[in-house]
Symmetry: C2
Subunit: 112 residues, 2 copies
Amino acid sequence: MSYKIKSRIWIESENNVLLGEGRVHLLKAIQETGSLSKAAKSLNISYKKAWQLLDSVNKSAKKPVTINSIGGKGGGGAELTEYGKSLIKAFDEINKNCWAFLDKQLEKIEAL
Amino acid sequence: MSYKIKSRIWIESENNVLLGEGRVHLLKAIQETGSLSKAAKSLNISYKKAWQLLDSVNKSAKKPVTINSIGGKGGGGAELTEYGKSLIKAFDEINKNCWAFLDKQLEKIEAL
DNA sequence: AATCGTTATGTCTGTGCAAATATAACGATT
DNA sequence: AATCGTTATATTTGCACAGACATAACGATT
């Protein structure tokens, strides 16, 4: 019976998007699968889209977020750097804090 | 040289969007112009889109947000109810508070 | 040097959504 | 009853963007 407040946050670097919910999902999937193509499959998005997202993330970040290798054993793969792992952890925390904050703020509207 | 954090918030009522930034802009324009069609023009959106937005807002809200009159002197018009005025004021406040909150949170990422 | 599964890109196609267009309905005023 | 500018809605058109498809590049392993 009552209103809900929702939010979407993202982090930009010089007008390019660095991180949003979709990109964080992708990074987590890479962490779990060890490969960009497997991550794309698990998220049900095309490999191309996944690659474009990851490329954009790495180009926007101050330090590398993933290390991608092509060729070699298994054909290659992708894995998160320590910086990448820290980023998604921090993003999740900020997101949770934001939800809690907004839920409190919503009372202002419920009271009307 | 540093990251920026951005956000978009919106309020839902039973899975329908009640208020977002675009809808608030529209309501403000209605307040200034006294008419939905003039508001649409001032925002450079089609009348149809403006009407759909306003219709959706009024259907989602607990109480009427605008009073629309058709026909009569001047052909009709639209104006905000007291509830509508309170809503956009509260939304703006929440939005500002959210920005300030997130800016502080961003420090967690800058520090990485 | 042949194989393999991946990363790294370009190209093409279709479709969903936005915008434009059209028009009905309305009621105070004259 | 004729006019007027608006609200209210349906229909058509256009275009950006996502997805499918294709293929090159790569290097460890055999």
